[in-house]
């Protein structure tokens, strides 16, 4: 009997011990445990939530459609009024304004953009040639910064294709601000208010490209709408008096408007100075600055070509021409008529054109430009 019992005991023991439950079996058991299941369901729910609420929404992205220039079959007038509102981001404009007036950016900390383009004097310095760092005289007349955003290219010779590109010029010109980018960035970085303002607008903070963007934004905001002439164009006939209206008629009839057209009344075409007669032969002392567009393209046919300047606020931006040789409006009108149009104007005609040009002065921040 004992032997039998032993035998049966042995049999029980020698039967395979319970085989190891497979990994998947364990996994399944864990899955079945409520907590794990709950976590799993939650994870899936969160995943789907992110998918549906988050950026994973596979809506076909639309390319930002660049604004289409307005198309009209025949503009009745070759000149269009300035828009009353110029949309720019206010924070950028304000940062740009600060930078525009920041003298610390120049080599010796004395010259800012505003030194030559003062907003209180119609964006110009009213000198034949500007004076930069250390009182050095530049080679050319400073154009106004007002409405510079309307120019198709910048500088008299159009060597910068945008306002952003233009920023580098005066900043680094040894005759103007004589600064460098590393220096400018270092100066701005020392100032905590600049640091925070840049940080608020640009993810990468103080960078030359952000600097350019801010300055350009500010400059684009410098439009001077609501001139009397613009009001006239908008239908306010009485905004111009009889002489001024006659001046506009002459402006169109004698051909000024061939080049001085569009919203900027110029600023969108290159033209040779001296079409009908040789301006430089008469003036003498031809220097490199007189070559104009040639300096950029090196094409002989571009010699003496300049960007046709905008005539907006022209009454306030004397002296005139790239060389600053025309001190008054009468003088520059005479020069233009003679050399560009081959016209000799009567005194009354000249007065009318000048009167018309004086009606082009617009407003900045609601006040007439000074």
């Amino acid at each position: 009997l004992n032997a039998d019992q032993n035998l049966s005991n042995n049999r029980v023991r020698s039967a395979t011990p319970l085989p190891q439950v497979s990994y998947l079996g364990t996994l399944w058991k864990q899955l079945r445990s409520r907590r794990v299941l709950l976590v799993y369901v939650l994870a899936v729910a969160v995943g789907f939530g992110i998918y549906f609420l988050g950026g994973a929404n596979p809506v076909l992205p639309q390319a930002a459609a660049p604004s289409q220039p307005p198309l009209s079959m025949a503009d009745p007038e070759p000149i269009t009024p300035l828009p009353l509102v110029m949309a720019q981001r206010p924070e950028k404009v304000e940062l740009g304004r600060r930078l525009f007036h920041e003298a610390k950016l120049s080599g010796d900390g004395t010259v800012s953009c505003a030194s030559c383009h003062s907003l209180s004097s119609a964006g110009v310095d009213r000198l034949p040639h500007s004076r930069g760092i250390g009182g050095q005289e530049g080679g050319i007349n400073a154009p106004t910064v007002f409405n510079s955003g309307l120019n198709f290219h910048q500088y008299w010779d159009g060597r910068a294709e945008s306002l952003e590109e233009q920023v580098d010029g005066p900043l680094q010109n040894p005759l103007e601000m004589a600064g460098t980018w590393p220096q400018a960035v270092a100066v701005l970085t020392q100032d905590s208010s600049y640091r925070s303002e840049f940080a608020a607008l640009y993810s990468d903070g103080i960078q030359p490209k952000n600097f350019r963007d801010a300055i350009a934004s500010f400059e684009r905001s410098l439009v001077t709408p609501n001139s009397r002439f613009d009001r006239f164009l908008r239908g306010e006939h009485a905004a111009l008096n009889e002489t001024e209206r006659e001046g506009y008629r002459l402006f169109k009839r004698i051909g000024c408007v061939s080049c001085h057209q569009g919203m900027g009344i110029g600023g969108n075409v290159y033209q040779k100075l001296g079409i009908m007669e040789d301006y430089f032969a008469q003036r003498g002392e031809v220097n490199a600055a007189d070559f104009g567009r040639f300096n950029v393209t090196q094409r002989e046919e571009d010699r003496f070509f300049f960007k046709v300047p905008s005539l907006r606020n022209v009454a306030l931006t004397a002296p005139y021409l790239h060389d600053g040789k025309a001190a008054t409006l009468d003088e520059v009108v005479r020069i233009m008529a003679r050399y560009q149009l081959g016209v000799r104007l009567q005194t009354n005609e000249e007065a009318a054109v000048v009167a018309f040009l004086r009606s082009l002065t617009g407003e900045y921040q609601g006040r007439p430009l000074q």
Partner: protein
Amino acid sequence: MNSKTHNYWDLLQVVVALVGAVLCMVLFLIAQPVDLHRHNLLMSYVTQLQRDEALLGEEVMRLDYQIANDYDRMTAIATRLRDTTRELRAGDVASSMRQDKPFERQLQLLEQRLKLKFEALEVFKSKNSILKNSFIYLPHLRDVLQKSLRPGDAIHERLDQLIELLLLQNSNASVLDRGHLDDLIVALENDTKGLPTSKLQQEFNVLLRHARLVISAAKELHGIQMQLSNPESGEGLSEAYNHYYDKQVLDTAEHRTFLLLLMVSLLGYAALSFFYWWELNAREKSRRLKLAAAVFESQEGMVVTDANNVILRVNRAFTRITGYTSEEAIGQTPNLLRSGQQDMAFYAAMWDDINRNGAWEGEIWNRRKSGEIYPEHLTINTVKDSGGQVTNYVATLTDISLRKAAEDEIKRLAFYDPLTGLPNRRLLLDRLQHALRSNKRSKNNTALLFIDLDHFKSLNDTLGHDVGDLLLQQVAKRLSACMRKSDTVARFGGDEFVVMLADLSEDPSEATQQAEAVGKKILTVMNQPYQLGEHQHHSSPSIGVTLTQGPQSSTEELLKQADIAMYQSKKSGRNSLHFFDPSMLDAPSQPDTE
């Protein structure tokens, strides 16, 4: 499979599944021909380029025909063309495209073409302005001059002709007859010298200057207009991109196939794993069942009943032990096995125990189907559900009748002499004690006869122990045969036998006579010849007898007395019988040898 390799195998499975999943994700990412957002932007840029160039051509025509009279729109279009090209060159959108050589080449071509175009555009604007100015001025100037000239003059005629030709060529530059115009201008220059006033001469010179400007500008413009109104921009770029896109699509189609295959195989893998696990579970379950069955079919009888004690299942050992087959047992209660050996109180106590402790263990008498009563070892356990309610009773029973027999055997070995089957010294002493105790009550006498075989040693020495054993067995038989049931014949050791005669008369002398009679009988019986195998043998015993003298006699004392008396017989020449006499105690000590 040992557990270690089992673990590695599981790990391998998990790793394989993970690698498959990661591969799936990677394939999914590269199975997209191009980034959808960038693709759309790029397409829109290319479309924009084409549209803008068309618009530019259109604007050139509008300006040429003086439908438009400012350059703002043209400038805006040109700026946008430039910006779009820059975006394609340096922007984020075409970043993936810059490695594509055909696209890069087309982009370079486009940039070069646009550069020339923009230059041409500036020339166009300048010349167009001059032309426009001239055409505003020419009719006006003609009016002024003609007022100062007589009609019919040659100079008047030529002037009219020149202005008409110039105005005509404004509408169609191709009809310009340059030679004729040049001739006219030269002729007019000569005419100028004959003009009456210097003011008039000056006016004429301005007019001729305008004429020359118009002629040169018109010729130049004609070529430029062709260049500007050619809207092929973006065609090559678009083609290059489409080519690239097609290539990407083909590449990714392959990836997608791989992705599909991988996903299908992963699915298969998952299914396989599931079935593997399923089968493992099933095998596991059946193994457990088999194990349970094996355990159930043990050597011990097993009975499973429900809570009402109705038999649900019995095993084969049960059938072997009780004789009832499972068909006979199932549906009955274990009362089937009741032998009636235990009373109701026993069962009540048993159930009380089961209900209180959940188990009972003990030995009871049961009845087999054959009616035979047998002892069994019974264990009863209760099975309870999760609520604590009894669902089953499981009884394990072992037939212990064999064990009982074994116990008897062990007892026999302990109290009997294995050679002769006679009680051994221990049992004799036991019985003697019993007898002495009962003598106290009954006043009966007991006699001890100490029997020693004469010359037994020499028999052993001459014929061997086997023959000696045979003699001992035959002696035992003869002694047993002539005794009463109540007497005990014991083998005391070697060739010594002790006979105890219980329940002799109360009267000592009578008891002595009874003992003597038995002694004499033994002498007679034992003197009969023995047939020990082939040997004829004669043996005689020496017998010493003693009687209990009153209740104070001890077993040791009696045995000693009988022994002493037996020695007396030996001394007196063997084959005789002597009663113990206290005087024998004074006799010289017993010889060491027989």
